[in-house]
Amino acid sequence: MVQAVVSLFRKERKRVAAFSCGLQALTLGSEGIVDSLQIPPGAAQRLQELGFVPGARVFAAWSAPGGDPRVYRLDGMEVALRRETAEKILLRNEERSSVVG
């Protein structure tokens, strides 16, 4: 039983890793590296100013009750984003890593 749950959990994780590479797919407490912004340049400007530029390391820190919006940490500061915005910030697939704290 326990194993079944664990394997279900694993499957879920794998699915996320394989198909989704937006910021919203980061589990809380893990970090990713920004690859690109799938947002028209005008709207992307504020995000870039806040530090969401290619190569930036982003850490998923907190989430509001209900899972949305979430607070991301980058460059020593924290910023809240809605899921729909986070989805459009794509991560580099290979460099995603889980860290503690």
Binding site: A43, Q45, R46, L47, Q48, E49, L50, G51, V53, P54, G55, A61, W62, S63, A64, P65, G66, D68, P69, V71, D75, G76, M77, E78, V79, A80, L81, R82, E84, T85
Partner: protein, 631 residues
Amino acid sequence: MSAEHASGCSDCPLAAPAPRRAARTVAVVGPPNCGKSTLFNRLTGLRQKVGNYPGVTVEKHIGRLAFPGAPDAILIDLPGVYSLTPRSEDERITNDVLHGTVEGIQRPDAILLVLDATSLSRHLVLAASVLALGIPTLVILNMADDLLHRGGSVDLEALARQLGAPVALASAARGEGLEPIREFLGGRLGIPAPVELPSVSDIPRCRQWARQISEDSSYSAPAPPLWTRRLDAMFLHPVAGPVIFLGVILGVFQTIFTAARPLMDGVAALVSISGRWLHAALPPSFLRDLLLEGVWSGVGSVVVFLPQILLLFLFLGILEDSGYLARAAVIADRTMARVGLQGKSFIPLLSAYACAVPAVLATRTIENRRDRIATILIAPFMTCSARLPIYTLVIAAFIPEQAILGPFLGTRAAALIGLYVLGFAAAFGTAILLKSSVLKSERNSFLLEMPVYRWPTVRGLSLRLLDRAKVFLRRAGTVILWVSVGLFLLAHVPTRGGSPVPIAQSVAGTVGRAVEPFIAPLGFDWKIGIGLVTSLAAREVIVATLGTLYGMENGAGGEGLQQAMRHALTPASAVALLVFFAFAMQCMSTVAVVRRETGGWKWPAIQFAYMGALAWGGAFVANRAVTWFLS
């Protein structure tokens, strides 16, 4: 208050007032929440509002500093910006001032560029575009205490060399490191040395440049703010977070009711003792009646609420200064999204609990115009502090105090919470209505930077309360005083055979009875009618008006007002009165500021009519429902 005092030139040789010399305009520029207004206050001795969340300053503020032997500096505090490409109303103000396109303000002669020393590499991005303006600039690394405390450091000389502009390390909150800033303001201004700046439009390139510069000036970032992490683990916890939020709210209301009580009783006693003393000291005359029944019963019955309102402001101040407000906006975003708004609208709405006027101004940080107008239109539904007097008065008169949750929640606090919820519900209902029809827009993004938690300082909080007390007492001494005196006079004319007619037949009574047919269905008599008319000047005036009217009848004040309310109103009409005040837009200052911010009479007119209709309808239903329930 004059800004000149702040420059501290008590021993300057030019003691005689020198003729106004040409002055330099100096703009204070920087990212949001890096302490620009705190620095501005320190330098000018003024008291602009400061707080710990991005978007406190949404308007330019001007202060003047005098320097012996140098031109005065006209300091302009500006809303925070991330770049010189404005996306919202407040950012546009900063941009316009910097480019010299604002009437009456010349293009700045110098700039104080304030950056947060604890996140230098990020904030230097703004430096690129500000330095590119070619205006003499002093770069101020603020929050130096925070940087050093958390083990960070920076080589100022190297940084100044890299930027081609002087750099100063300061802590505006503690008032440290201000001397170099004053020297810069009073000294010779140098154009920034030509250094190679990246193209401002290429943000990734700018960030690279900023990172390089901070590396070359051996900037070591401070350790992460441990306490902020710990507190967020609690306040943003999926279960504990909302529970704490709710607990705080309940605690606030209970305290407003119970802890304020002894203080309010104290003020009431003071008013009544001084009234009795006056009564004994003055010979019987019309003037004595005017003073006692007009001024003392009228103004006195409002002044009693000062402790309660200060307590409310204390709590709001703690929320704003600590940094919790930004977290509350994140928690509220989902709910706000449901009615078509976003978390940023939550901040003006929360500040509307103090007063709708600054709340309407605070909407300037909302980028989308339709969202902004919707927020402006619903803000006056939030229970502002001017509603507290009438709420407290009616609740205390009609609801007996009983414990619901032991010492944590009583019936009266619960009734008060109910009224706050009612206003909140009206705001939300209206938002849904607006956002699904005339102000429909696409779902907008929500971006909000989380400030580091800070201890609210005793100094900061007491300045807030002091300023608030001044505003309140000034209102009591002007609007409320004049309305009370005017009412007293109107209630005494015309005279018949040397003595005034009964109030009902006086001019004031005639006005009241003219309104009576419209409000009779709500269960209000002509005296409440007079109160509704006078409360158009300001909501709390109704308490003063009723104080004067009932005072003239019974010759009593303060204590007697509750008694008199119980005689004058049925429980059903009392509830109707509360509902009326929850919904009606009886505040001319709000109407004026909405007109200014929306650029015309259209929205304030719609708003006034809508809220008035809702108030009448709501009061009618409430009156009927309670009558039916009690029968």
